[in-house]
Amino acid sequence: MKMIVAIIQPHKLEEVKEALYAAAVNLITVSEVLGHGRQGGQAEIYRGSKETGNLLRKIRLEIAVNEAYVEPTIEAILKGARTGEVGDGKVFVYDLAEVVRIRTGERGGEAIG
C-alpha cells in the first residue's frame, strides 16, 4: 500500500479530479495549503509597503492506494495538473504501514477501497 501526496496548482484541481475518476481512483482528501517551490513567493503591496516572498496558495491531495493503483494514480495527477510552467507542483509517494476503516474495523488493502 502506498500513500500518494501531491501538491498542485489550485486551478488544476478540477482537471486532476476528472483524471482520477477516469482512472477509477475515487478516494481523495483535499486541503488548501500554503507554500512555494522554485518559482518563489508572490510580492504583495499594501498602501505602498511591499511584502515580498508571501506564500502561494496550493492544493494538497492525499490518496491511499493499493500497489496496482500507484502508477495509474500518478499518471492521472500528471495529466490533470501539468501546465509545463514552473509551479505545477510535485507528487510524493510513501509506503503506507496500515489502513483501518473506522466503520467496520477492516484493515489493510481491504480497507483502502
Binding site: I45, Y46, R47, G48, S49, E51
Partner: protein, 445 residues
C-alpha cells in the same frame, strides 16, 4: 455649530448669543428635524460597523475582535459621558474657562425638554430642530472622534488603558476643542475659522492625537508586518463610511435645505475624485491599482471635504479630494516609511493629514456663490479672500498643538498609572485572546 461656527462669521450675531433665546420667528421644522434624526443614525453607523470593519480588515486575524470592540465600546462609553456632562462642557454658553470650556449647566441634559428648540442652527435660523436632536447628532460626532485614534495603537494597547485613555481624552481634549470651535462662546469660532462638519474638531484633532499615540506606544513587535487579514471587510467599511458621511456632512447643515444638498453633493464629489486619484497613483508608483488604495483614497477624500462641504462647489470639492488624496498617498507611502513611526492603520496619515489639507483648502476653495442670498459671504483665497486662508491655518495650528500635546500628556500619565501596552506574550498571542478571551474565527465547528 461647526458650520455655524464657521458660518458664524455672519450668523454669529443672531445665533451665537441666543444660547436659548428663541426668537419669536423660530419654530420647529418637521422637515429639518426628520433629516437630522436620520443623520444621527447615519453618523452612528460610521463608528460601528463602518470604522470597525475598515480598521478590522486591516489588522491580523488575532486582533480583529479587539478593534471591533474598541469601536463598539467607544460608542457606549462616549455616549454615557456625553449625556452625563460632555455635551454641557462642549456646548453650554456658561463657561468654566472662557472661550475654551463650557460649564455643567446641562449635565445629564437637565432642563432640555423634548419641545425645546435647539439654540444652535446653521443655515436655517427660523426652522429649528429639537435641542435633543442636536445633542444626539453631536453625540455621534463625539463618539467617532476617539474611535478614529484607535487606528494608531491597534494590535498592542491594553483594553483597560484604552478605556481610561478614551474617557480622559473625551473630556480633556474633545470637549474643549469642540467648545472652542463650535460653541457660541468659543474663541476660534469668534475668529471666523470655517469648519462645516468637523474637519478640525474631528479629523485634525483625532489625526494628530493618533500621531502622538503612535509615538508614545511604540512600534508593534514583529520583524515584518503581515498583510491585512480581510480586505473585503476594509472595502465594506470604506463604503459604509462613504454612506454614513452623507449624514455627517449633509446633516451638519442642521436643515434639509440647499446647503445640505450642497454638502451631500460635495461629499460625493470629493470621495470620488480622491478614490480615483489614489488608484491612479498606485498604478503609477506601484504598477497596480489596489483595492486598499481606492478605499483609502475615498476615505481621505471624505475627510478632506468635511470642513469644506457646505462652502465649496462640486469642482472645488473634487480638487480638495484629489489634492488630499495625493498628499496622503505621499505621506503614507513614502514619508511614514522614512520616519519609522508605527501608525498601524494610518489614522494620522489619513485623518490628520487629510483633515489638515481639507482645513487649509477650505480657505482656498470656499465659493461665495454657495451662500449667496443667505446673507452670508464665505469666500476663500481663490475668490479674493486671502485672509481666510490665514484663519484656516491658525485654526488648524491651534487644534494640532492642543491635540498633539494634550494627547501626549494624557498617554504618558495613563502609561505611568496603568501601562499602555500589553506585554510581549499577549501581543504575540493577539489581543482577541489576551484581552477578551475570544476568537473571531474558530478552527473547529
Amino acid at each position: 455649530m461647526r458650520k455655524r461656527a464657521a458660518a458664524s462669521i455672519l450668523l454669529l450675531a443672531l445665533a451665537v448669543i441666543p444660547g436659548f433665546s428663541q426668537q419669536a420667528e423660530s419654530s420647529l421644522s418637521p422637515g429639518n428635524t426628520a433629516w437630522v434624526l436620520v443623520s444621527i443614525a447615519l453618523v452612528m453607523f460610521m463608528t460601528v460597523p463602518a470604522l470597525g470593519l475598515f480598521y478590522g480588515g486591516l489588522v491580523r486575524k488575532k486582533n480583529v475582535l479587539s478593534v471591533l470592540m474598541q469601536c463598539f465600546i467607544t460608542l457606549a462609553l462616549v455616549s454615557t459621558i456625553w449625556i452625563a456632562f460632555g455635551y454641557s462642557l462642549a456646548f453650554s454658553e456658561g463657561e468654566l474657562i472662557p472661550g475654551v470650556l463650557g460649564d455643567f449647566k446641562w449635565a445629564f441634559l437637565k432642563g432640555i425638554t423634548p419641545d425645546q428648540l435647539s439654540p444652535y442652527y446653521i443655515s436655517d435660523e427660523a426652522g429649528r430642530i429639537p435641542h435633543l436632536a442636536f445633542v444626539m447628532f453631536q453625540c455621534m460626532f463625539a463618539v467617532i472622534t476617539p474611535a478614529l485614534i484607535a487606528g494608531a495603537f491597534a494590535e498592542r494597547m491594553k483594553f483597560s488603558s484604552f478605556l481610561i485613555f478614551t474617557a480622559a481624552w473625551q473630556v480633556l481634549i474633545y470637549c474643549p476643542l469642540a467648545h472652542m470651535i463650535w460653541s457660541s462662546g468659543g474663541w476660534l469660532y469668534k475668529l471666523g475659522v470655517l469648519d462645516f462638519a468637523g474637519g478640525t474638531v474631528v479629523h485634525v484633532n483625532a489625526g494628530f492625537a493618533a500621531l502622538a499615540a503612535a509615538l508614545v506606544i511604540g512600534k508593534r513587535d514583529h520583524h515584518k508586518l503581515l498583510p491585512p487579514h480581510n480586505l473585503p471587510f476594509t472595502l465594506i467599511g470604506a463604503a459604509m463610511l462613504w454612506f454614513g458621511w452623507f449624514g455627517f456632512n449633509g446633516g451638519s447643515a442642521l436643515a434639509a435645505d440647499g446647503i445640505a444638498a450642497n454638502a451631500v453633493m460635495t461629499t460625493n464629489a470629493a470621495a470620488a475624485a480622491a478614490g480615483l486619484a489614489w488608484a491612479l497613483l498606485d498604478k503609477v508608483f506601484n504598477k497596480r491599482p489596489t483595492i486598499l488604495g481606492a478605499a483609502t483614497g475615498a476615505v481621505v477624500g471624505l475627510v478632506a471635504v468635511t470642513p469644506a462641504a457646505g462652502f465649496v462647489n462640486p469642482a472645488g470639492a473634487m480638487a480638495i479630494g484629489a489634492i488630499g488624496s495625493a498628499v496622503c498617498f505621499f505621506m503614507v507611502v513614502f514619508v511614514k516609511e522614512r520616519l519609522g513611526y508605527d501608525d498601524a492603520l494610518d489614522a494620522f496619515g489619513c485623518h490628520g493629514v487629510g483633515g489638515l489639507v481639507g482645513a487649509v483648502l477650505t480657505g482656498v476653495f470656499a465659493d461665495p456663490a454657495v451662500w449667496a442670498g443667505r446673507g452670508a459671504d464665505f469666500s476663500g483665497a481663490l475668490y479674493g479672500n486671502v485672509p481666510q486662508l490665514w484663519k484656516q491655518l491658525a485654526g488648524a495650528g491651534v487644534s494640532i498643538a492642543f491635540a498633539f500635546v494634550g494627547t501626549l500628556v494624557i498617554l504618558k500619565l495613563v502609561d505611568l498609572a496603568a501601562g499602555l501596552r500589553v506585554d510581549a506574550r499577549d501581543e504575540a498571542v493577539g489581543l482577541d485572546i489576551s484581552q477578551h478571551q475570544e476568537r473571531a474565527y474558530t478552527v473547529l465547528e
